[in-house]
Symmetry: C2
Subunit: 452 residues, 2 copies
């Protein structure tokens, strides 16, 4: 299905105005993030959706029929029948480590085409990148313990599948979301809810019923009434399983003082001879709480994380933007930028690329340059993914993307991974870009602000 | 398409355990919200998705094929071929005003069925209710000025359509999301972005091009370089439009000190004889900022709100939960509840309903009772929406739901609408419920905590 109308109305009104004024120059837009919600880095994700969108982009008859009811010019609407994207797109591959201000995606096309794709690109890339980055932080905080994503019930509706995909890219080990298992091949995990326990006459009856149904993968939820008493009953059922030649795999804590309770539960399990039984903790966890739990010696082997991971709480949106940086007029590049009373909302002019310098296998710094500048020892981060409207890159599998993410992340020096006190990673502007920017600021100030 | 696998794995493992232990009693679950993110009330939304889901709920062959790869019992999987939902659902209609702890939806069905639907219900109802409630606050803060929802680019991916629907239920006047216009009939709005301005040689060229393309609905974005200078150019183009017998409709501010700038821009427009031109403001707005702008006398006629509205920021998830409250065993009701070390996580036992008492046309208080209790002068809030698995209610149109919301909201006393200092609305428990709860706590403490 084409998603042409998954856009802001102003893209379509601007398209008509460009068309009406015969102003359809080749334009370049940069997608970049001004501010990272938490920490110093981003894990890029969502590119695959943009590629599918570009490949299928067209206006269906009923799209045009709908627009006809919205006061568009009939002649303009006729041009939409043959609309397709004919431009070039450069992008950092999914699973890249990126930093603020760096162009992550660069779109070059006739401005009518480049304008339309803005909203879809922002909608999908902002969200996937937000969640992959959050997941990376949560996984990092867990210091090697597995993170199971449990967020479907708190996900923002139909965004759940792409969110789960992004948590997996960011390093989560599994999801509770069965549809994500079926459609994306992500490992699924989950055992029982409190309702299962309360539906039986006694807590221990529910444990026995579950152990009977899943003797080979039995996890018991032990906090329905009282965590300590639940742990004691789990020991009883664990021993019953042993008599049958099976093993209790784990217990789950979902409320209360997870740190203190986990230590008490560990002791109860150990005293009962169940040293191998794992303890899973869940309940409004995030990277900070996990970091604290580990710091204070919690006996937790695995974490289930829901709301925070699947929505990015406390910051549920990435402020990624898509800004015009260059126009070709009369065969010549005319660099473009936006000024603003808010300095952070000023943009970088010109067709740009990003270089990364690595030292001893670790990222050292990035440099944003104009397209014609070279950086010795630097590796360019933007790859051509669409050329003249056609997909021009590999489409790695989800597990490859996850693996690439892990490799990239391993090259980020530890100091930039700190949850709260990470310094800004060095991103420099080339001399050419710095000079160009000063020139354009001077020109705009002269022509648009002082003299009109 | 069936969405049977849009669920947490543990629903399916519990279903197998219920099946294996031949434990499939009729069970009642309540959906309710423990804590409201901001303010005192909720606007319920999303029920229509639950009804569609129930109507189409089945396991397709490829669903079962996938589950076969996940170590389920083959005989259990066979039973899924004939699975359907056969129970009853009561619910507050969409657009109701609801409060914490009140059952908003009540599901009664064999536990295997009632368990499965939990995740979908939570995923959809939590999100729509979160956003409709947020929208209601933003609309209320604007004191009659229209709110245009601009959030698609920051929406959590594919959740955008239902989010936009919920903002409309909550009272927003329009959306930038063209697909929401086409699919849901919501009015769409939007004009131009900064890239439109920067793509032309001079700001005023872009204004003239837009005015030429849309002489009857021309809004100009005036903050690309400098808001005051932009306003002056808008006056020039507004007067050019007047000479052609047309009118400039409005200007938009998207950055800077919106309060101060709006007053300066108003003066520039008025001095230029453009008293009718509206001022629209946007840029990271929310209910608090809008309230402040109005309080300090900003000259703003309409607000565009994006990120906060479409994601619920700062609280992107509602903590709505679905808890077992009753089981039928041997023909008798056995009320159920969950205890917790965290008192807020304790639930209410028994099959319950909610009554509302209104005085002089305003809501006075609500009372949660057991099903067999009556409240004189109270109106029951839960309506039967599914009976024996079939839809048993009207399906109001989106505009009717929006209208009902406005009527319901008008009955909420002003004090409960305050953004931050609203007191808790009075929700009482009936005597029967209070006594039942004490009995069950005593029973659980005796049987599950003290004596095992």
């Amino acid at each position: 299905m084409s998603e042409a109308l998954r856009t802001d109305l102003y893209q379509l009104t601007m398209m008509q105005a460009y068309w009406k004024s015969r102003h359809n120059p080749e334009a370049t837009f940069d997608y970049f993030v001004r501010k990272i919600p938490s920490g110093s880095y981003l894990i890029t994700a969502g590119l695959t959706f943009l590629l599918d969108y570009i490949e299928n982009l067209r206006f269906d008859d009923d799209d045009i029929e709908y627009l006809r009811t919205q006061d568009f010019d009939k002649e303009f609407l006729k041009t939409l029948r043959d609309f397709k994207f004919t431009g070039d797109i450069l992008a950092m591959p999914e699973g890249s480590v990126a930093f603020p201000i760096e162009p992550i995606i660069r779109v070059t096309a006739p401005i009518i085409e480049a304008q339309l794709v803005e909203t879809f690109l922002l909608n999908k890339i902002n969200f996937s990148t937000l969640i992959a980055s959050k997941a990376s932080r949560v996984v990092y905080a867990a210091k090697g313990r597995a993170i199971a994503e449990f967020g479907l019930r708190r996900a923002q509706g139909d965004g759940h599948l792409e969110a789960t995909r992004a948590t997996y890219i960011g390093g989560c080990a599994s999801t509770s979301n069965v549809l994500a298992g079926k459609k994306l091949g992500i490992p699924i995990s989950g055992t029982m809810a409190h309702s299962f326990v309360t539906s039986f006459d006694h807590e221990i009856d529910s444990y026995r019923a579950y152990a009977d149904a899943f003797p080979k993968r039995c996890f018991l939820l032990i906090d329905t009434y009282n965590t300590i008493e639940g742990a004691k009953k789990a020991v009883i059922v664990g021993k019953e399983l042993e008599k049958r030649g099976e093993k209790l795999i784990g217990v789950r804590l979902d409320s209360g003082d997870l740190c203190g309770l986990s230590k008490q539960v560990r002791k109860i399990l150990d005293d009962g001879g169940l040293e191998d039984v794992k303890i899973v903790a869940s309940g409004d966890l995030n990277e900070w709480k996990i970091d604290d739990l580990i710091k204070y010696g919690a006996s937790i082997d695995m974490f289930g994380v829901g709301t925070e991971l699947i929505t990015g709480r406390p910051t549920p949106a990435l402020d990624g933007i898509y800004k015009l940086s260059d126009i070709i007029e009369d065969g010549k590049h005319v660099p473009k930028m936006k000024l603003s009373e808010e300095i952070v909302k000023t943009t970088l002019p010109g067709k740009k690329i990003v270089w990364r310098i690595t030292e001893n296998g670790k990222f050292k710094k990035d440099i944003i340059t104009l397209e014609n500048e070279l950086v010795d020892e630097g590796v360019p981060l933007l790859e051509t993914v669409v050329r003249k409207g056609k997909i021009a890159c590999d489409r790695p599998s989800l597990s490859d993307i996850r693996q690439n993410t892990a490799v990239n992340f391993s090259k980020l020096p530890e100091i930039f991974k700190k949850l709260d006190t990470a310094p800004a990673y060095p991103v420099e502007f080339s001399r050419g870009l710095t000079e160009l920017r000063a020139d354009i600021v001077e020109k705009i100030t002269r022509e648009e602000i002082r003299h009109e």
